[in-house]
Amino acid sequence: MSVSPVKLVETVAGMLPEYVSAAQSAEIIRHPSAPKEEAKASMSAPPVKARPAWLDRMNDIGATVLPSLLLLALVLGFWQLACSGEGATLPSPSKIWTESHEVIVHPFKGVTFDTGGMHIQDGGDVGIAGHVLTSLGRVAYGYGLSAIIGIALGVLIGQSRTAYRALDPFFQVLRTIPPLAWLPISLAIFQQAGPSAIFLIFITAIWPIILNTATGVQNIPQTYRNVAKVLALNPFEYFVKIMLPATVPYMFTGLRIGVGMSWLAIVAAEMVQGGTGIGFFIWDSYNSSLLTDTIVALVWIGMTGFALDRLVAFIGRRISRA
C-alpha cells in the first residue's frame, strides 16, 4: 500500500501510523538504559523535529478522512471497471457523470434566494437541491409534529404506570408497521396527497421518540425525585427543572432515530404526493428510465440524511451541556 501517505508500521504496540512509531522508537533508541531522571528531562525537551501545529492538525484530519476517501476511490474504480462492458445493467460512474451532468452541476436550478427567503419554482423543472429542500420542508412538518406529540406521549407513559400498561402494547405493535403500509390508510383518511405525506412521516418517526422519552422518564433517579419532593416543586417546575434536563439524553436518542426514520419515509411519502420532492424525483427518473439521475438522487438522499442525523445529535449535545 505505497499509495497511503500514512504508512502503518509494526511495533510492539501493534500497527501504528509511521510518525507515531518513529517518535517512539527514537525515544527508545536514544535512551536504551538511561536513568529515570534523564528520561524525564528528555520528555520535557522539545521533540526532535518540531512540527508546526497546523501540520499536525492536517495530519490528524488526513488520518481520519483518508481511509474513507481511499476506499471510495477503490469502489468507484472497481465499479467503473465492472460496468464499462457492453451488457452492463448498471451505469458506470463515468456514464453517470456524462448523462446526468445537468443534474449534478446545477442542483439549485429553479431555486432562488432573496431577502424574502427561499423560493422554489413550481412544476417539475427544478434542480435536485430544490427537490431535496421541498422534501426537507415536509420532513420538518411531519417530524416536528412527531417530536412534540412523541415527547408528550413519552412523558405520559413514563410517568404513569397505568398509562404505560395501557398504551405500550399498542405502541410496540404499531411501531413495526413499515411506512409504505400506512400509505393506503393515510390516503383514505386525508383524501389529499399533502397531508397524507406528512402523516406518513409523522407516523414513522414518532415511535422511537415516544419509547425513548418514556425510558428516560422512567430512569430519572429516585434521588432527583426526592429532591423535588423535599423542595415541594409543583408538577410544572418538576417537568422543567428536573424531568426535562434528566431526560434530554434519552429524548435525543429517540429524536435522532426518529429523524433518520422520517427521512426514510420521505420517498414513500412523495410517491403519493407527486410533483416535487426527492422521492418524486426518484420515481420520475425511474419512470423516464434515467437510471443515472436516480443514482445521483440516492447520493443526495444519503448525504442529507447524514446531515440531519448530525444536526439533531449536535443540538442534543448543545442542550444537554447548557
Binding site: T223, V227, K229, V230, L231, A232, K241, P245, A246, S320
Partner: protein, 267 residues
C-alpha cells in the same frame, strides 16, 4: 394535654409490603427532640434508621403513628424539613450556585432577585464553597459535593435538618473536615438536626444526644444517651475527656455486645 417537644414522633410503625408478606421495619417508636438539639441516630445497617428519617421528611408514610413538628402534623415532604442525602443528589446539569439557587428560589419566592442571589452566596460561603460557585457537580470532589448539599439544605432555612449518613461515602480526612464545618454552622444557626451515622466518633462528637437503634425487623430505640461535652468541641481535645470515652464505650458496647450485627450472627 401534655406538652409536646418541638419535633415529636409518637408511636411510629412502618410496614413495607414484600413478596413474602408485610415487613415491619420499625415498630412503635416514640422520640422527642427539642428545638436546636443535634441528635445522631446510630445502629447497624438495615435497622430502619433511614426509614425513620424518611418518615420525618415525609417521604415515607408510617403505617401507624404521627410526627409532630412545632405542634403540626407532618404528612408530606416539604422544604421546612431539608434532607441531606448520602449521595449528595446535586443535579448534574446545574452549577453549584444554580443547585443552591433552585432551593432558594423555591423557599424565598417573595424576595427580590438580588436578595436571593446574595443568600445563595452567603450559604456557599458558610460551607466554604463560594470559590466553586460556577463549577458543575461533575467537576468537584465528593467532599465538595456534600458541602454544596449542606449549603442547599441550610439555604432553605429548614425547621429541621435531616442528614442521611451524609459523610458515609467520604474518606476519613474529608469527613473530619466536613464534621468541623457542620459544627461551625450549627453553632451559628442552632438548627434542630437529626443525623444518621455509622461512625461512633462522629455520633459522639457532633451530637447533643445519641439515639441507638436495635436491630430490625421491627426495630426500636434501644438507648438514648445525652452528650453534654462543652461546645465548641475540638476533636482532639474532646477525645481525651472521660465523658467522650464513656459515651464512646457505651455506644460500642450497645452495638457490638447487646445488639451485634445481625449479619455476623447469621454467618
Amino acid at each position: 394535654m401534655k406538652v409536646r417537644s418541638y419535633l415529636a414522633l409518637e408511636g411510629i410503625s412502618v410496614v413495607f409490603p414484600t413478596v413474602n408478606g408485610p415487613f415491619t421495619a420499625v415498630e412503635n417508636i416514640d422520640l422527642s427532640i427539642e428545638k436546636g438539639q443535634f441528635v445522631t441516630l446510630i445502629g447497624h445497617s438495615g435497622c430502619g434508621k433511614s426509614t425513620l428519617l424518611n418518615v420525618i421528611a415525609g417521604l415515607t408514610k408510617p403505617a401507624r403513628g404521627v410526627v409532630f413538628l412545632d405542634g403540626e402534623t407532618v404528612d408530606q415532604p416539604g422544604p421546612d424539613r431539608a434532607v441531606i442525602f448520602q449521595d449528595h443528589s446535586l443535579l448534574p446539569w446545574l452549577t453549584v450556585e444554580e443547585n443552591v439557587r433552585l432551593a432558594v428560589d423555591k423557599t424565598m419566592a417573595g424576595k427580590s432577585r438580588a436578595e436571593r442571589k446574595d443568600w445563595v452566596r452567603h450559604n456557599l460561603e458558610l460551607v466554604h464553597m463560594a470559590h466553586a460557585a460556577t463549577k458543575r457537580p461533575g467537576e468537584i470532589s465528593g467532599g465538595m459535593k456534600q458541602r454544596v448539599g449542606i449549603a442547599r439544605a441550610i439555604a432553605m432555612q429548614p425547621r429541621v435538618l435531616l442528614m442521611d449518613e451524609p459523610f458515609g461515602a467520604l474518606d476519613a480526612l474529608t469527613r473530619a473536615s466536613l464534621q468541623d464545618t457542620v459544627m461551625e454552622i450549627q453553632s451559628q444557626l442552632q438548627t434542630t438536626v437529626v443525623m444518621i451515622t455509622h461512625d461512633v466518633d462522629e455520633a459522639v462528637l457532633l451530637a447533643d444526644r445519641v439515639v441507638m437503634m436495635t436491630n430490625g425487623p421491627a426495630a426500636g430505640i434501644g438507648e438514648d444517651l445525652p452528650i453534654t461535652l462543652e461546645r465548641p468541641r475540638d476533636r482532639i481535645e474532646a477525645a481525651e475527656l472521660p465523658e467522650y470515652y464513656h459515651a464512646r464505650h457505651a455506644i460500642l458496647h450497645f452495638l457490638h455486645q447487646r445488639y451485634s450485627n445481625p449479619l455476623d450472627e447469621a454467618a
